[in-house]
Symmetry: C2
Subunit: 125 residues, 2 copies
């Protein structure tokens, strides 16, 4: 009985996004494939600048922010763009252009899937 | 009002360990210091082999495993040791030598702290 596909896939407007995956880390040893998918998400948050940008978007009103709202992390604009691209590629953010600005939004299904990975299951108690 | 120190520090037998930190990513933008600490933990799980080893320990009976129990991840023993060391340095595992073998244990406070980071707070809804 596999539950690696229980979680909803991302919206079609996020074509690069990685589907959420995998049972809690404490439930059973991950397969190689599960580990590849989940590691990609963790790796995306494994950089301090990316994490600051991500939390700036995630904590912004409505869970959405314009680049103009979140660039105050002490790095150049191209570096900000580079990191936002990485977060999109990992499926953690989606983006939408509206007029002059690109707006970034947290993908809640991915965030909750990562949260579930870190759930401590009764089996590990 | 800072809540970066709310979570318990690790046991003194894990001197290299990183203290759990930080509010949910959705609560407010992370400071540079919070991002450094949290990114270190995410980065440790951002490698497929490390993630498989971690989930092998985490899902093992009693949340503890001997190296002899978890080396079946398709890499050499020195590589396994290298990755286990990285997980210890990030504060995700603790270890204890008992007789011939070293036993690894998941640090539950770190796991739950990381889970809390990924909680979706009402502010972001």
């Amino acid at each position: 009985m596999s539950n690696t596909r229980m979680l909803p896939l991302l919206e079609p407007d996020a074509p690069e996004a990685v589907a959420p995956c995998c049972p809690p880390l404490t439930e059973r040893p991950f397969t190689a494939e599960e580990a590849e998918t989940a590691a990609r998400m963790f790796k995306a948050l494994g950089d301090p600048v990316r994490l600051r940008l991500f939390s700036a978007v995630a904590s912004h009103e409505g869970g959405e922010a314009c680049v103009c709202d979140i660039s105050d992390v002490g790095v150049s604009q191209p570096t900000v763009s580079h990191h936002l691209k990485k977060l999109k590629e990992a499926g953690l953010l989606t983006s939408e252009r509206r007029g002059t600005w690109v707006y970034y939004r947290v993908e809640p299904s991915v965030l909750s899937a990562m949260g579930k990975l870190l759930t401590i299951s009764p089996a590990a108690a």
